[in-house]
């Protein structure tokens, strides 16, 4: 019993170092592609926390959705956009960095003081549940079934929306060629046109 407790502690400390460290690295790494990989590792650490909290089904879902789908999608977008040559802003704006650090530390300190002075500071966890997958399936198909259906519709709608957003419209090219309404639209249109003629970027 004692050894088991010790192992859980070691796993918790290791997972927290892995998760927090790779979350910081995801935001601060110089190359954004390494940041995307660090984000995937951080999500894997969160899945490890789920396993420590005896919810293996959610951990499996987290790994397959976040590490499997979202991280790969982000890595593809990073490769498509080629940020290192195209990001013009000053990421190392000193004043904004200090302001962000102070703001997030203040927020963490405030919520932390509230949390450690509340009843949760010495709350004991209940013994783990039995038949988790069974109960989740029952809940999803009985009480939460409207939410389940709406979730499916939302996912389908967002995927169709993302596809139609990212698709290049060939049919509205003549329509916008007639007369741009305002100077701003004309500028966007000119940008689009010059981009279309660029040699390095293929149209579709």
């Amino acid at each position: 019993m004692k050894e088991e407790l010790l192992m859980a502690d070691v796993a918790f400390i290791g997972l927290s170092i892995l998760t927090v460290g790779s979350a910081i690295f995801a935001l601060e790494s110089r190359e954004i592609i390494y940041g995307a990989i660090a984000l995937a590792i951080s999500m894997l650490g969160i899945a490890g926390f789920f396993i420590l909290l005896d919810s293996p089904f959610v951990a499996m879902f987290q790994i397959s959705v976040y590490v499997g789908a979202v991280a790969v999608l982000v890595i593809f977008i990073v490769m498509l956009v080629r940020t290192e040559s195209l990001f013009s802003g000053d990421e190392d704006n000193r004043g904004r960095q200090i302001a962000g650090l102070i703001f997030s530390l203040l927020a963490m300190a405030g919520i932390g003081v509230l949390l450690f002075s509340s009843l949760f500071s010495n709350a004991e966890l209940k013994p783990s549940l039995e038949n988790i997958v069974n109960k989740i399936g029952n809940g999803m198909l009985t009480y939460y079934s409207p939410v389940f259906i709406l979730l499916g519709l939302t996912l389908a709608g967002s995927i169709i929306g993302a596809l139609s957003l990212a698709r290049r419209e060939e049919s509205d090219q003549p329509r916008s060629e007639t007369s741009p309404a305002s100077p701003q639209q004309e500028k966007i249109y000119l940008d689009k046109k010059s981009e279309g003629k660029g040699a390095g970027i293929s149209n579709d």
Binding site: F12, I13, S16, T19, V20, A23, A26, L27, I32, A36, S42, M43, F49, F50, L53, D54, S55, V58, V65, Y66, V70, L73, V74, I77, V78, L80, V81, F87, S88, G89, E91, N93, R96, G100, L101, F103, S104, A107, I111, L115, F120, N122, A123, L125, K126, P127, I132, I136, G139, Y144, V147, L151, T154, L155, S158, A162, A166, Q184, I188, D191
Partner: protein, 100 residues
Amino acid sequence: MTELINFVSISLILVGIGMYGLIVKRNAIRMIFAIEIIANAANLNLIAFSRYLGDIQGQIFALFAIAIAAAEVAVGLAIIIIAYRLYKNIDVSEYKYLRG
């Protein structure tokens, strides 16, 4: 060590990191990273409190939240692709026409 307060503390630290990223970074993809870190912290909180209350509802909510977050990332990255086509840049302070 593996009590409720430890997991909630880790979640709090992750939210702080995410807020720092949202304030400091002006790279659109890095802002999406920060949003993802905050969403993961929220999921960790849901699971920890589900275990603390001995109730399955927190896990069901976490599953729904993960699915919604995946849809949000897909739409957000598509918007980044559109903005990159228009501006040749992913710096959000360059996106001037969104200011209205």
